[in-house]
Symmetry: D3
Subunit: 221 residues, 6 copies
């Protein structure tokens, strides 16, 4: 049985649980097993570049050690920490949430707007999108600007996400929306219903890419 | 039961049969049904831009008529004829072989070289890659230069593909190879073994993207 | 006597007549003859990508058959249907309205805004502009959003075009305007007077390029 | 009677005479008069950026003074000295040889290789091509590397141009050739015959653009 | 003792004096001497491309003659007149104010907004930024739109600069400000205090680059 | 007295000593003090992306703790580990060796070739160059391909660097060379003498930028 390991590089097990729930539609009869784990020594959340760099080391260290325990790996964070490094430690396919989400938009022929948590993430996302040559698929990246402490307030969070999503669609002509944080998975359905465009959850996108890669036998040199 | 319709826009049923065989790894227990059809009024092969334009009309006409008969559509030709038009006639997701193959390379974090049949295809491929903003993922597009009549000669064809693949890998630093024609599917395994890099069959890539889209419920506005 | 064939790929003879009138300034003493024809089996108008793909096939089929009847060909539609294909069927020069209009802006050293009919055309125009590498010359492409049935209402149409033209000039810093539809030729003078910038009718631009090419003896390999 | 003034910004009257002869195919019955003049205080040749900057001042000074004496102006040097400045001193259309040659390639749907005289010109040409956003249309710019004193040796010059032209076509996949110096006009026919691709003389291209602009009444704001 | 010659290419000695004062922080114990000179035959100000072209010739002529009198040269004008030409007449390092300011922004990892004097400068700045491949570091270039006669009115000028600076920061997300005119040096401190971002005076940036180059012994081939 | 802290993120004190020697020309009378330190818990060398990610965390952690101990920071590794993160933890200016080296090339108006140690570094360098938008300044990045164990063999190392440098200059038209590793500083003079082009040591470039920033009082918001 093939196995995909989805790594939440922050130490928040509630986020891992939400990611795990978002995997449901990909868990089909003879599909690869999808296991979601939390890096317990990861930062509580990946807000700064510094926490992202820390996560990068933890992710590739984990994959280097666990490379025999799975057939493909997904990094469940919209900054793709450790993805490049992991590709150097194993020939098994590695998928970053951001890279996969943008590639998914590309396969659908649409340009997307990104909804981010905090302003500080935006520049980091752009650096990454340019780095992986997918920046042309992003029309804008806008933060909801809520402090983490208020993310638990679901009504407020959803309202802000809808507001930003509408701005991406109307002022920036986004043809799709990318959730710029692995922890936003639970809002996907609501946003899709209200905005009327495809909303891409990046971890779902990456896990779907991983399944495809395993089905088709892709394996790096 | 969800259904994906893979449309071979040329009238060559042998090509359709080969595409159909290439779908095998994607036909899993509760996966969407994948049916491959031949456009019997399509050109015998899509070599020129003219045959590509003709195929484009046929593809979108077929999808417009058959839009209720499937849940997602794949256009099995590396020039993606009719993909843009089809996206205007249905909100169901449409996947082009070329666009999906390049997006797959993007998700794997690699730049690919394309192996084409004839020299005349190369400029067409570049126009398309620029059009869909994925040209940065292609390092070179080189033809094997065999007349169609000699494609049946499997030994010669495979030798030429290997030769071109090696050139893409060594002189152009391709990190993956894309088969630039839906009819090359049967050579994928051999090339992969001999070149030691991921070889992407574009129809497989597109069908895998379609499965992902259906699993995740993507649907255009 | 050299002859340029201007092909209106839609079946609307009123549009052909308007295009024909717009050729007046290019019909000089010993200039090539400019004949404008209607593709009677063309779509009534080219609004969708699907009608554009259909037109593409008809255009290149016509040029393939009529290649001996003219010395250069102009495709009078801002989506350039069939231009690439036609260049494969004859070595005589082929000019697309959009490509020529953007190249004309380039020769004048200006960046242009495009006035389109319908929203659906905008994405198509961008795909094409990227494909032919002239997208940097377009600052924005905005639709007037009138249903075809109301295009006959000249006062309303002109008012909408002026409004969009002003927006292109003021909000998007367009230094010139391109009429994004061959059927807008009659509004060129009025717009130019009111906006105070060069207004490029794409069919005029393409026919002028064709005359230049014939004078200078350009002929593809 | 409309008049186009073609300005050779170097003081070499033999070059002006050659440019004048190259205008022959554009001098038709009721076409605008094309007069070619030499800037007698111009540099003997425009090889360095310094001579180019000097020529720039002379060109725009001349056009500022002579703006009423012609209806359009052509700057007959592949570095387009003074073109931007001249556009600020008159609303009459100004055409640069390089900009027009590249725009002509764009209108023909081809990418061109440039044949230059000296190595020092190459970087200057690239700076200019990037500046006017037409660099994507140039596949390579290669010098023949002959000292000016040997340009008079027509056999040698032609042999070197053919050699460089072949390299542009074969190693760089040039679909057309641009003569990267106004003084190369006389070699156009021979190169075209031997290479089998369109060869664009930049002054011819610019004069043809000027005729088009006058016919169509383009005039800057 | 090493010497840097800063050339103000306009004939306004008050501007030279202001530039000279701006050099103060770079005049340290054993630093290269920085001498600022006025080109007395330069234009009174560089507003148009024509005055810029004239300045270009004067600058490179001066540097060609004075090449032994200094070890590095700075061109103190945000249009970098004569910089490319000067690099052809000496192997000593030449620094343009604009190129250096944009490179300084690059070294700081920020994208900048440019404050220009007049609207006519904006297109010239963009042509230059594209030419030297640093345009991606500029988010916008906005003029204060004051006639030169009113630049003496310091209060008004400063107010306008602050207004434009705020717009660059807030509407265009500039992370730094570049003063788009060598004559704006005296406003740097005030702007920096009020906007809270790095404000780059281009002549300071160029002189600092020159000092670095001399310290490190850079010298062109 | 202002102080610049140069951080060697690998634990090799010989490399730090070599970097320290390379600072000599920047240690002038009243210049900021330049202190070079070794991160003793850093990886022995930064060859892989994984060691780079690890170094990134160590660098920004060090700067976060030591932010009051210096006025500017230089990260002495051609992969710029921790530079982005460090900019989020202090408003003091942070300079990356790679970013500064490329910006220095930009200020000199040249395009550079990079000499790298190992093949694995090349892709990482390109990802970074694209990320910071300076990739257009790099013509090629070629490895010398020596295992670290052989770097001590100075004669061999220098011969390989010269060979790669020549290839960058002749086959890739590099106008300058960038040493793609902080440990190559000692070869700068020899390469410059033999190749006849500017050779940029990235740590020198970054320290020079830091001095400029301190002299001019740049400080992030």
């Amino acid at each position: 049985m093939l196995r995909i390991l989805v790594i939440n590089p922050n130490s928040n097990t509630e986020v891992t649980a939400a990611i795990d729930r978002a995997m449901a539609p990909l868990r089909t009869a003879d599909a690869p097993t999808i296991d979601c784990i939390t890096l317990s020594d990861g930062p509580p959340g990946i807000e700064s570049q510094r926490s992202c760099d820390l996560a990068a080391s933890l992710v590739s260290a984990h994959i280097a050690e666990a490379s025999e325990e799975a057939d493909a790996f997904v990094v469940a964070c919209y900054s793709d920490p450790g993805v490049s490094a992991s590709r150097e430690v194993t020939t098994k396919p590695i998928f970053g949430a951001a890279e996969s989400a943008m590639a998914m938009a590309a396969s659908l022929g649409v340009r997307a707007g990104v909804i981010s948590i905090l302003d500080v993430a935006v520049a980091r996302h752009w650096r990454h999108a340019r780095s992986v040559m997918l920046a042309p698929f992003i029309v804008a990246d806008l933060p909801i600007g809520l402090p983490v402490s208020e993310l638990a307030d679901e009504a407020q969070c959803r309202a802000r996400m809808l507001e930003v999503g509408l701005r991406l669609k109307e002022a920036h002509e986004a043809e799709a929306i990318i959730l710029g944080c692995a922890g936003m998975a639970r809002y996907r359905a609501a946003l899709e219903a209200e905005l009327g465009v495809v909303v891409i959850d990046p971890t779902q996108a990456a896990a779907a890419m991983a399944i495809s890669a395993l089905r088709l036998g892709y394996r790096a040199a």
